[in-house]
């Protein structure tokens, strides 16, 4: 049940009305949301809901155990239990084949072991496992760090883990942000619900009208056969890829935040116009914010952060970005991608960083070329990512090198890009770079519309999008 499906719209409407109908009874509303979340998750693969229960039960009881004891060794033991349990599940379902294949390749390169090709195990990746594992981990880690009190009811904790708007592809919600909301009385806020509906509409437009169109008409043809296209077309497709990833994922986050708002919950924003970033550190403060802040708080800072020797800071960045790469997928191309995006961050350690005054005093040209550099750097990196995830044939790093070679090939290209993909890319750029105030104006105008006007806009948007959808494309981040 993807957000961009009619089934989800019907499901959400039913949950919305049912939730507010029973909202006065605390346990009933939590139970209803939890059951709805399980139904939502089981629509992909019912049996994997068991993993969700295991992860939930493990961290609920481990969290309580950590809180109960003051003995440091015991606290560490319970934390290790939680980390091992969660990461073992994640490791088996997501990384087992990768590690086995790498081990197999290593043995072969050393002249040991079998010479025949590696046959992967038939392991299906449960949807959203990377996201909910991080959420449950954040709970035990925060209790261990004494930043959070354990929750008093397993139902509340289960709802925090399984809350359907963010269950499958984020944003990764911290327990400290979400659990206190469960203690608040349920009070319907029509303004928040109106803004939520607007976000859902905006997310659907981003996903169906822009991301899928760019993917289908601009990115896919070029990545399928880069040799048939000229350098400019390849550059457009690579830019398109970065925009497609941004639009696809931020659309999911928008719909998640909007759906949660309609139910009276606040989820953190996940994207803040990342292509306006003037340096790479700023980019990571604007792109997939919930994930980067998780890695910052629980990995980078745990390793020592920036309050240590330079060599150690570089090591901390390296480890963090390799893990960021691996979190996205089990493959060497993700590791390479992680290292590649980490290198500039490591280099920054040796450079003096501009002060806020210096940043503010930058000329227009200075700002533009810095943004262009950040954008193009990530566009280059995304080629590795794209070739390893959704491109036909999963050609990974080799595919990226072939594309880079095609950039220098200026002769005899006959294939042409579909103008629709280019138009969608241009529109996406306009929407991204438009002032935030414009979005707020549009949102306020929508919420101020009369009832029938709002309903009309909703019918128009969902109707047009359903007519446009060539096929229901899944969200890219589902596979992470």
């Amino acid at each position: 049940m993807s957000f961009n499906s009619t089934t989800f719209i019907v499901f959400f409407l039913v949950v919305f009305f049912a939730y507010w109908a029973v909202s006065r009874t605390v346990r009933l509303r939590f139970a209803l949301l939890f059951v709805a979340s399980c139904v939502f998750y089981m629509s992909w693969n019912p049996k994997f809901v068991v993993l969700l229960f295991i992860s939930t039960a493990l961290d609920y009881y481990v969290g309580a155990a950590i809180h109960r004891t003051e003995n440091v060794a015991r606290r560490r033991f319970f934390l290790c239990l939680s980390l091992t349990g969660n990461l073992a599940l994640l490791g088996f379902f997501k990384y087992f084949n990768f590690f086995l294949e790498s081990f197999h390749a290593l043995l072969r390169s050393l002249g040991l072991g079998h010479t025949e090709a590696f046959v992967p195990w038939d392991i299906v990746l449960p949807v959203g496992i990377s996201f909910y594992t991080f959420q449950t981990l954040s709970y035990t880690l925060d209790i261990y760090r004494r930043k959070l009190e354990p929750v008093d009811s397993i139902l509340k904790f289960a709802l925090f883990v399984a809350f359907f708007p963010q269950l499958v592809a984020g944003p990764i919600v911290r327990a400290a942000d979400f659990l206190p909301q469960l203690e608040e009385p349920a009070r319907y806020d029509d303004g928040a619900a109106g803004r939520g509906v607007f976000l859902i509409m905006a997310g659907l437009i981003k996903k169906v009208a822009l991301a899928d169109t760019i993917g289908l008409y601009l990115v896919e043809p070029v990545f399928r056969a880069p040799g048939e296209f000229g350098p400019i077309q390849i550059v457009m497709a690579v830019w398109g890829t970065l925009f497609q990833f941004y639009l696809d994922f931020s659309a999911y986050s928008d719909i998640a935040i909007g759906a949660a708002a309609c139910l009276g919950y606040r989820l953190p924003i996940n994207f803040d116009r990342p292509f306006l970033s003037q340096d790479l550190a700023e980019f990571w403060r604007r792109w997939h914010i919930s994930m980067t802040s998780f890695f910052r708080d629980y990995v980078f800072i745990s390793l020592g952060g920036t309050r240590c020797r330079t060599a150690k800071i570089v090591r901390n960045f390296f480890i963090t970005f390799v893990l960021v790469g691996l979190w996205h997928g089990a493959g060497w191309n993700y590791v390479v991608w992680g290292v590649l995006i980490g290198i500039p961050m490591m280099v920054r350690v040796f450079m003096r960083q501009p002060t806020e005054e210096e940043r503010a005093a930058r000329s227009l040209f200075g700002r533009v070329w810095r943004r262009a550099w950040v954008f193009n750097f990530h566009a280059l990196a995304i080629m590795i990512f794209r070739n390893g995830t959704v491109a036909e044939g999963n050609r990974g790093i080799e595919g990226t090198l072939n594309m880079l070679a095609s950039l220098a090939d200026f002769g005899g290209h006959t294939a042409r890009l579909n103008p629709l993909g280019l138009r969608a890319l241009a529109l996406a750029a306009v929407i991204h770079f438009a002032p935030k105030a414009w979005v707020h104006v549009a949102r306020d105008r929508f919420t101020r519309l009369p009832v029938l006007g709002q309903a009309g806009v909703m019918v128009l948007v969902t109707g047009c999008l359903s007519a446009m959808a060539y096929e229901q494309a899944p969200f890219i981040y589902f596979q992470f």
């Binding site: 919305f16 009305f17 169109t213 029938l452 709002q454 309903a455 019918v459 969902t462 007519a467």
Partner: protein
């Protein structure tokens, strides 16, 4: 003092908007179903169903396609020529009818196979029929907002009544023969939509119910006369699950032709035929082979994603179905007069999928063999059908 009590949940603005949204969606859904149903052309479907009824003997050769095939392949001529060539008697059945897309032809073959043993061969029309922009292809492609507007504005919601259809037939949009065809094709694309939207099973029942109600209403309003009361006319209408044809006034005649012999030709005295011939003369005066080829060769590329989705899917489905049942599938380009040359990409595509027959120039080309630029006349159909029999008499090339 102002009242600070919150409004009840169901009276909140966004909640009301949500409820209105649900109501509007349901209303639009019902309306679109109604529109689709009223546009399905049932008589032809009904006739095909009658031709497929199990009391009929099974056929050895089937013709499937649009009006080009319906008017261009004559079963008796085929049977006779095939017997001359091989000494073997076969039964041929022309299941093609006007405005049929590949989807419907596929469903027809599925229906046929559910009632009869597999035929020896199926002649399937390709070319112009596959280039028709079906409504859902158009909307799915969404090449520009103008495309969507065009679909909404021009077709298929234009002729909802028999009277309006007749008016349009008599006065085609812009008085252009081609635009009339374009209009017609898009209208028939709704058959596909109806099939897709409703599914094969309920479509028949729902449509039959709709038609019965509509016929009864028409009888009640104006069916009195010839010794019967309005109520008798309404009752008569209620018994008929079929709506009436929209093409020209000779629809009854066409239906009778299909019923009697399995193929049809329009009356040579009719307005439709005269217009077709006039158009043919004009093309003959103004175009030669080369200029016509340049003008009508369309840049069709089946490899473009999102375009011609239906053609690609149903061509594959046809090939698979025929392979499963051991049927020889022959894809046939039905001749047009200086019109609709297939592109190299199309030809290559069909050849990859199986056997493709393109009639050589010597089979049919003269203006005299055509009723209009798209359809053969009876003489042309005889010539062409003989060529098809000859093709089947030869063993397939490996």
């Amino acid at each position: 003092m102002s009242d600070t009590r919150p409004k009840p949940f169901l009276l909140q603005k966004t909640v009301l908007a949500g409820l209105c949204y649900v109501a509007l969606c349901l209303g639009l859904l019902a309306h679109s179903r109604h529109e689709r149903l009223s546009l399905v052309q049932p008589t032809r479907s009904a006739l095909v169903r009658e031709m497929l009824c199990p009391e009929q003997p099974p056929a050895d050769v089937l013709f499937l396609g649009s009006s080009r095939t319906a008017r261009g392949a004559i079963p008796e001529v085929f049977e006779q020529r095939y017997e001359e060539l091989t000494g073997e008697r076969v039964r041929a059945l022309n299941l093609a009818t006007l405005g049929r897309s590949k989807h419907i032809n596929y469903l027809t073959l599925v229906e046929y196979l559910s009632a009869f043993p597999p035929p020896k061969a199926v002649f399937l029309e390709v070319g112009q029929l596959d280039r028709t922009e079906h409504a859902h292809d158009l909307t799915a492609r969404f090449m520009s907002p103008a495309d969507v507007l065009r679909v909404l504005w021009r077709a298929p919601y234009r002729a909802r009544t028999r009277e309006r259809s007749q008016e349009l037939t008599a006065n085609p949009p812009g008085n252009a023969f081609d635009s009339f065809f374009l209009y017609l094709e898009r209208c028939f694309a709704n058959v596909d939509l109806a099939m897709e939207g409703l599914g094969r099973g309920p479509e028949d029942e729902a449509f039959a119910l709709y038609c019965r109600a509509r016929n009864a209403w028409a009888g009640l309003l104006g069916g009195a006369g010839a010794g019967r009361s309005r109520f008798e006319a309404a009752f008569e209408g209620l018994q008929s699950p079929y709506a009436s044809e929209v093409i020209e006034s000779s629809d009854a005649d066409l239906s009778q032709q299909i019923r009697d012999r399995g193929w049809y030709q329009v009356k040579t005295t009719g307005n439709y035929y005269q217009k077709g011939k006039a158009h043919l003369d004009e093309w003959d005066r103004t175009l030669n082979g080369d200029s016509a080829f340049r003008r009508t060769k369309m840049p069709v590329d089946y490899t473009l994603p999102g375009r011609y989705l239906a053609t690609i899917l149903y061509t594959k489905a046809f090939v698979d179905l025929c392979q499963r049942h051991g049927i020889r599938l022959i894809q046939v380009e039905i001749p047009g007069f200086l019109d609709d040359a297939m592109s190299n990409s199309q030809i290559a595509y069909y050849r990859r999928k199986g056997e493709l027959y393109q009639p050589p120039d010597r089979v049919v080309l003269a203006k005299e063999n055509f009723a209009d630029v798209n359809h053969l006349d009876e003489e042309g159909a005889k010539k062409f059908t003989r060529a098809l029999a000859q093709l089947l008499a030869k063993p397939p090339r490996r």
